[in-house]
Subunit: 347 residues, 2 copies
DNA sequence: TTGAAAGCGATACCAT
DNA sequence: ATGGTATCGCTTTCAA
């Protein structure tokens, strides 16, 4: 039996010794390129297989100056939004011949941890970086965009040097507004998220407000504070105002807690009150809940983000791009079905 | 201005040149260990900062033979179950001074991709491996457990050499059974998942069946086929049997589609039919739905998995451990509230 | 305190 | 076709 170096991973040198060739030969056989006799090749591959050889990505990356790896920075693995986006990115990256490593922050020390996560990815010398986090400010990303192609996915990024791919929040808000208006609502409440809490949620809720006003709808704006209870606590005041017939929420999970609060208050949805959300992703899309919402095109966001990244690798001087993708209105049961279209009288 | 090597990342040699010292000095300053004058130290750190130096994890890992990195293999980033687990793992790993890289399969080529993902992690020379996937068979994992400490998280792993941390499925099933029995159900349907489709879901549903039978409850077993429509299609047959008063589902999302189907059939829950799920994770936990389910202790699973991994690093000869953690019954509104306890008659 | 030099594991160029 | 050797960026003796 050959000498087992306990549990250390075998190197190409181990294989070379075992197969009676030089390590150059092993490298060529493993890479499948360069001149090598068929006989040696298969012997080497055999030995590698038998030894359970797994290449050392560090050594390879170091000399080859290529890692074939894309880095994804995800804010919070718990949220289905990021889960979907992550999966979409992953799928496309593989198709492009890249592997993906993901690093994420951790809830409590969010910002500091995200900076660490960014460092981790950079230190791994990823060949492209996708940032999926509404948290990390452009300031932290910008210094590295010259060094590694970077795309922000899932949120618009106004920074002139940083590319981004995201759902068109204004358009989405407008679609929801149009839906409510076509249903005849004349006085609507919007739960507005302050810009400081979330840039994207601010953008979409602000667009709801201005969209409603442009359509001449009375608009009641309730500014949300931080914390999960804020939306719930905002509901009673809205119920005081008997003219309000619809509430627009910044996100589906907020919408769900609003619906819950309405039910506790004995308010029927959609008979007494209509409610809309935003995202249309994950388990909450079940017809059991029937949320009226705007579905973000996350598969496409992920795909386009990777494509953009790969283009960027080819041509580093490409001008910055910001790609806004249209979401799709999902008309559920939290808004009433549209009234039957007027038709010519039968008699 | 100093010569800018365009967009290439600076190395310690660049820093050394700029600071007028040797690269050894830079290494010591950056590591904060070894003798070095305070004066040189701060100058070096300054230069590093100014150049935007990010260490090369490959070079460092190669020479130091340590990566301070744990690898997590996740099956499907889309499912909240994995998202939660991932987050829990991440949090604990950071506390332990490790960073985490994640690799995941991709839906369509599931198994092949998971093998690739495993190779990716191994090639990165992670110091520990957490496998969160009901898919990847032990056969694929076993060859490497000698080389790198490995824990399977989220599913029991019977393999004698592979450690695992998971929710006690039998106990969870039993808790749900007890709940139904205490509510007075005498004939109950179980949607059984075949072992070939999912080992964990088979374990829990099989335990439901045997638990019910042990308690003397009539049990109707419906074996699920593959595909998302299977649970829905199973419902009508169950409604034929007017004696059935409860349906036990293998998972919350299955439960939700069953509830939806029941509603379409005009069956009221819980008045006409009780329903239970399993998982208690993610957006579906909203009180709006009020699912009666068993909540898996995923935070603890993640924490214990990392702890076990780190213990394993210390003592590679540790005997294999299988840690089963108790879940918690969540009594929702898809089962009726328990009847008032019998009390002494008033008159 | 500081610098020179030897590797870590793999690739690629160069002779042979 | 094959093997020797320089090299990637960094840590770590070992001298000075």
């Amino acid at each position: 039996m050959t000498e087992d170096k306990a549990n250390k991973a075998p190197t190409i040198i181990d294989i070379a010794r075992e197969a009676g060739v030089s390590k150059s030969a092993v490298s060529r056989a493993l890479l499948g390129q360069g001149r090598i006799s068929e006989e040696a090749r298969s012997r080497i591959l055999d030995v590698a297989q038998r030894l359970g050889y797994v290449k050392n990505a560090m050594a390879q990356g170091l000399v080859a100056q290529r890692t074939h790896t894309l880095g994804v920075l995800v804010r919070d693995a718990v949220r289905p939004f990021y889960g979907h986006l992550h999966a979409a990115l992953q799928g496309r990256a593989i198709e492009g011949g890249y592997r993906v490593v993901t690093a994420t922050g951790v809830r409590d020390f969010a910002l500091a941890e995200e900076r660490r996560a960014l460092q981790t990815l950079l230190s791994l010398r990823v060949e492209g970086l996708v940032v999926c986090s509404g948290l990390l400010p452009a300031r932290d990303i910008a210094p590295f965009v010259e060094r590694v192609p970077t795309v922000v996915a899932g949120r618009p990024e106004p920074h002139p040097a940083i590319n981004s791919v995201y759902c068109d929040e204004e358009d989405g808000a407008q679609q929801l507004v149009d839906h409510l208006v076509s249903l005849g609502h004349r006085r609507v409440a919007v739960l507005l998220v302050p810009e400081a809490l979330s840039i994207t949620q601010y953008a979409r809720t602000a667009a709801m407000v201005s969209g409603l006003r442009e359509r001449g709808v009375d608009t009641v704006v309730t500014e949300l504070t931080d914390g999960p209870e804020a939306p719930v606590e905002a509901v009673p005041a809205l119920l005081e105002d008997r003219e309000i017939t619809a509430i627009m929420c910044p996100q589906d999970d907020v919408m769900v807690s609003v619906l819950e609060r309405l039910r506790r208050a004995g308010v029927r949805v959609p008979d007494d009150m209509s409610v809309t959300g935003f995202d249309g992703i994950g388990p909450l899309t079940t017809p059991l809940l029937g949320l009226t919402t705007l579905r973000q095109p996350l598969d496409e966001v992920g795909r386009r983000a990777i494509d953009l990244l790969l283009e960027l690798r080819e041509d580093r001087s490409m001008p910055t791009r910001h790609i806004a993708l249209r979401g799709a209105l999902v008309a559920g049961t939290t808004t009433p079905p549209p009234p039957p279209p007027p038709h010519p009288a039968r008699r």
